[in-house]
Symmetry: D3
Subunit: 146 residues, 6 copies
């Protein structure tokens, strides 16, 4: 499956008093992008809840008025759990991403208990790009840690 | 300095369709609690921005209508950077926290560059409780990782 | 350019007292999807403002808890103006879209006056699907009307 | 019945990065004004849902800090359907309205099926003003089109 | 000047976990209605700020899904200060208002200092209704108190 | 019980077009602080609803970007009713509070009827500070009035 991609205009309602994206809004946008990435991977049987943020890096301030893009891919799958990786597409040519994140979602049944993920497809194939490789390597280290 | 403490009624506006706290709202509340913890530690010269979420665990669903409490303490300090730890006070006696989080904030100057933290006080003394000890140990591992 | 695609979980905060997507929220979501569609068509030089809603049809109620998908394509271009078409992907197999919309955006300069659209690419090629054809035909009638 | 009238202070939370009313907020405000117009027309037995936006024109940017007024009137009635017209009162003497809109609402029963409108009163008598006449003529053309 | 009148559908986003209008939302709606009342009284030269809530009574819970009406009138004027009275129109025939409020607004100049109110009209003539008389009497007592 | 204390960063989303805390947001923040104060006083058996605002004074504008602190204490208790007092900690040394408020909450049972307050503790002991004394004296006058 290709990368998912989320566009959004950063409004004053999303901003702090420095005129950049407020961290509280950024976390919510990252969750929405991660949730949609995981949901597209699983299909309509998805019943996903956020289990953890394994890591989230705010690498550059995002000025109000920017149309941001967040790209997402499923980087890891277990029986009832998956990890969505996110990258905030650089705001200018030659820059690094302004956001990197690894969000873990669990599939649950009606009563909230862990349940098998519906589809049996593989993790997303990500373009062989440096920034996705780094995110995957960080994930490998973090999965070993716990 | 003692623990800081944040109370909030969970409203339908904060909830998902299962009648529990929506992860996007939870992340924003955690950021607000972490920011207030860091700000109280630093005093009015604080000019803090979120650098990273080192870890955030959603351990139990929180029903709409609950008054949640999030406790916070500064667990780590470097020259221009600190980490605030957060615990969601158990919703019922004998339960574990519903939230654990480690948020890293940087002190920045007017132009957004790293700056010395204003105060020179120590990290917060946390009550010698099991759940804070576990959070501190996780932080130690994560700081070594990067 | 392919269709753009927007996913979003419908939360209680987006809903009316019937437990379905509130029309005020629906209009905002449609605007965000239309804006992102137009922006992706134009690229980073886009400075777009909504000029008009040519037509927007609410065809089925959307239950809270649904992950909706809105697909978008640019269906018409003039020198300083374009129309984005939107379709809400059917909520169940065999159904019709729950949303159809035609939103007109103008490109403006710094002082808010009409300006040439930055790119010179064609309108989006849309899959030869019945529901897009109908939307395009409605647009043709509406453009003749004014 | 006289025109209904809705006042609202435009706040930064409603604005875009140009310091004017954001289109996503404008659409929600228009829906609220249209809904209240239709509701006042029908009385407490109203159970209305938005069926369509027949037309909505954004004619001038509205600066943050403005107290806007939106006037509404029911311009068309069928058995289970009505159309509310809206005009944004000019922001300065001698200007045209900043908003024109035609919103179609359906009366529905408990299960969401079309139902007879409760009252049997006529469409609102609108002051014989040029801008209302134009809106009514546009409506006549659009009703013929579908 | 006649009473001003504000209609609004109470949504789940405005509600508490009992399915009624949340007090935090109620206070914001009361402020918006009071501000609009004061603004209409003063005209476009108004530059008003809330100085105080003299009294606000929540007399009945308001179920989600209700279209509420708040009526307003200016009940008191000083050189640079006025008091807007608000009544929540009874939710059912024979009931008392669900809301009573007295909000004091000051007119200020560019630098935030008190300034003369722009118009020199009288306080609003209120229909000689029992509930408005009681509100006016309470205001008289409260103005004496301070 | 000591004073409760609430910190919050004032964001553009909370502000008016003068770049200061909007009164509608201020009222909601005051309600949240008052509710948390009353809840902490009563413990988890609390089932509180706002009955009235006895008084609320907006004494100074609060610039966007400020981290505000609101302190709270329960100043009065009856069988099924209590009054929470609030003070907005001065924004600069030597200033007076920017907010003073007295909010009355009722304890209710499942069906919304008044119920005995759960705890039997006394009103909060407030530090013997001038501004709390003044607020308590105002409360005494207002309680006599009704």
């Amino acid at each position: 499956m290709p990368l998912t991609s989320h566009h959004r205009l950063v409004l004053p309602a999303d901003s702090n008093h420095h005129g950049t994206l407020y961290a509280g809004s950024l976390l919510r946008l990252a969750l929405e992008a991660g949730y949609a990435t995981a949901w597209r991977h699983c299909g309509p049987q998805a019943n996903l809840v956020l289990r953890r943020v394994l890591n989230l890096e705010c690498l550059r301030p995002v000025p109000t008025g920017t149309v941001i893009e967040i790209q997402g891919a499923v980087l890891h799958r277990a029986r009832a759990y998956l990890v969505a990786g996110l990258l905030g597409t650089p705001l200018a040519a030659g820059e690094r991403p302004w956001l990197e994140a690894l969000l873990g979602f669990a599939q649950v049944d009606e009563s909230g208990r862990p349940d098998d993920l519906p589809s049996d497809c593989d993790v997303d194939e990500i373009a062989d790009r440096e920034e996705w490789r780094r995110l995957t390597q960080r994930l490998a280290k973090l999965l070993k840690l716990r």
